[in-house]
């Protein structure tokens, strides 16, 4: 068992697979993680102009099904009732 393996408890083939999964998604849509972050920021800015959201619970990510990629945004909205109570 290598030093790295003992440290992470992970075999090199599964690291390779995980790393490739991410790399391939970004390669396929030609979107770097940095651009994705910028997109997420802008998306949140636009949405919060209209509704109240909690930025820390937002998930925006690339997902793949077969060879197709999609941008998945999960944006929980704050309940209007709670806002009024404030």
């Amino acid at each position: 068992m290598s030093f790295f393996e003992r440290l992470t408890g992970k075999k090199s083939a599964s690291s390779a697979k995980e790393r490739l999964q991410l790399v391939l998604i970004h390669d396929r849509v030609d979107l770097t993680p940095a651009v994705l972050d910028a997109l997420k920021e802008e998306l949140l800015a636009v949405i919060s102009r209209h509704v109240d959201i909690d930025p820390s619970s937002v998930h925006v990510e690339l997902a793949s099904e077969g060879r197709n990629q999609r941008l998945v945004a999960d944006i929980p909205l704050k309940a209007a009732a709670r806002q009024r109570a404030r």
Binding site: K11, A13, A16, R19, Q21, L24, D27, G66
Partner: protein
């Protein structure tokens, strides 16, 4: 008769494209088919040495395209298989000496009386690759179970999708069963999960590939070679037969003894 054009490509260099072309050509020709392989790597020709035909070259593909010889004159007949031919690449020209439409014209001429036309694509995704895929009826992508080879294969799949070249098939070459077993190499299933294209062949790593290229005699003719068997299986699948994938597990002593007993 209309022959089929198969282009073998990979993105990354050194994954075994030329070996695959030579072995598939030999396997198809040994099955009684008329086969022509075209070396698409102008400037860096190699298929001639892998097939052991380097001393017979008179004309090359650029001579054909530029009209200095008839297609027939550039087709070098194999030493062992009389229905197997090679059209070599030019060594002193660059990839722009041939265009995609030249390749389409050449292959359309060959299709008339050849069953299988196999094109050995150069590495990369530039002109040589464009030339190689232009006339293809089917594209095979060779990859290795390794980060950069899989990533480059995915790029090539994307480019072929954009060109509407139909869905390519995958050859996973140089699998090392012992490394897969101990979790240090991507398995065929892993590679399939990542690339999601049809797998047409799995080829174990085999040091006899180097021995064969030293001798200029592709492995597919050797009954005992595992890699040779894997390439023969791919050739059969190209011809439309259902052939089960070979067992990759490294064989233990008992299995080896049992096999010897059967011979």
């Amino acid at each position: 008769m209309t022959g089929k054009v198969i282009t073998i490509t990979s993105g990354k260099g050194g994954v075994g494209k030329t070996t695959a072309v030579a072995n598939l050509a030999v396997a198809l020709a040994a099955d009684g088919k008329k086969v022509v392989c075209i070396d698409g790597d102008i400037g860096l020709r190699n298929l001639d040495v892998v097939m052991g035909l380097e001393n017979r070259i008179v004309y090359d593909i650029v001579d054909v395209v530029e009209g200095r010889c008839k297609t027939r004159q550039a087709m070098i007949r194999d030493k062992r298989l009389p229905e197997l031919f090679l059209i070599p690449a030019a060594q002193t020209r660059d990839k722009n000496a041939v265009s995609p439409s030249d390749m389409v014209r050449l292959c359309d001429e060959l299709r008339q009386d050849i069953d299988w036309i196999l094109i050995d694509s150069p590495a990369g995704i530039e002109r040589g690759f464009r030339n190689a895929i232009a006339p293809a009826d089917k594209v095979l992508i060779v990859t290795n179970p390794e980060m950069s080879a899989v990533r480059d294969a995915d790029r090539v799949v994307g480019l072929l999708e954009a060109e509407e070249k139909g869905s390519p098939s995958l050859v996973v070459n140089r699998l090392n069963p012992a490394m897969i077993k101990r979790g240090d190499m991507l398995s065929v299933d892993d590679v399939y999960d990542l690339l999601r294209i049809d797998v047409i062949g799995i080829v174990p790593e085999d040091e006899n590939v180097i021995v064969a290229s030293n001798r200029g005699a592709p492995l597919a003719l050797e009954a005992k070679s595992r890699a040779g068997q894997a390439f023969r299986n791919i050739a059969r699948r190209l011809e439309g037969h259902q052939v089960p994938f070979m067992e990759l597990e490294s064989q233990g002593l008992w299995e080896r003894l049992a096999r010897m007993g059967r011979k």
